[in-house]
Symmetry: C2
Subunit: 173 residues, 2 copies
Amino acid sequence: MDAIKAIMERVSTRKFSDRHITDEELRIILDAAMAGPSATNARPFSFIVVRDKEMLGKMADANMKYSEPLRGADVGILVCGDLERAYAAAPDFWVVDGTIAAQNMILAAHALGIGSCWLGTWPVEERVENHKKLFDLPENIIPHSLIAFGFPEGEFRKQKDRYEEDRVHFEKW
Amino acid sequence: MDAIKAIMERVSTRKFSDRHITDEELRIILDAAMAGPSATNARPFSFIVVRDKEMLGKMADANMKYSEPLRGADVGILVCGDLERAYAAAPDFWVVDGTIAAQNMILAAHALGIGSCWLGTWPVEERVENHKKLFDLPENIIPHSLIAFGFPEGEFRKQKDRYEEDRVHFEKW
């Protein structure tokens, strides 16, 4: 799929079909996750990839509000930051770097015909703590975002034109 | 350009040619910026688009370390968060949402043959404050990232395979 088309047409998918994501497709999604830039090239991220339905349910519980789509997903990926790898002079860049990884995954998935729903985790402290407990994570590993992946039921819904003129300022504020 | 190819081949470009980005190309980049998801669809972002060379120099000064590529760029875009539009229950999602916008721009640019260099701003407080002063920004507008855009001198350099097995955990940490 054309790159501009994938970026413009990506939608959040909340109802998934029974069709499975192959290991090859999953690998492309994970390749994409690690292909983005990161502050000082620190790459302070890790990924927990889950197919087990019972575990997906527990992750939906951990992520609380708006996380129901994960229960019907084929794969859930918890993007985590890694403070031990983060740029020491400004470690909070881990939030930016984790986001880049997640967005790359979502776009790669869309290009493969795979839908996704981004379930925000950080900065909601309770969600972060719930995932830390669920996966018994080391201290340096911080849950960032939870992405539900699966083939959509039917076609992707149509995306709208989302450009808003008043958000763009030329040369000055 | 194919979407997976754009994601995998994107590189940071630090030397730009004299070729100008057209207004049509710039519009595609800005369309992409606003096409991503955001927490609760709050879309808490704005963009300052600069072509003026003197201003690009001032923005490079404001953004400090590693920001030299902006001086040779054709266009610089300062991505900003907008706290007035942010999801009230967890406003720090603005950092995630601004990052998605920036990464979408970088990928769209690459697909058009346009290079970019992501110059980190937030969370470095001094850079944030410098841009606020330079653009005399309202209180609710927070500088997030500065992206330098331009056609590369010659070809894009080749990207490496960036997958790292030890970053991926299946089913459990």
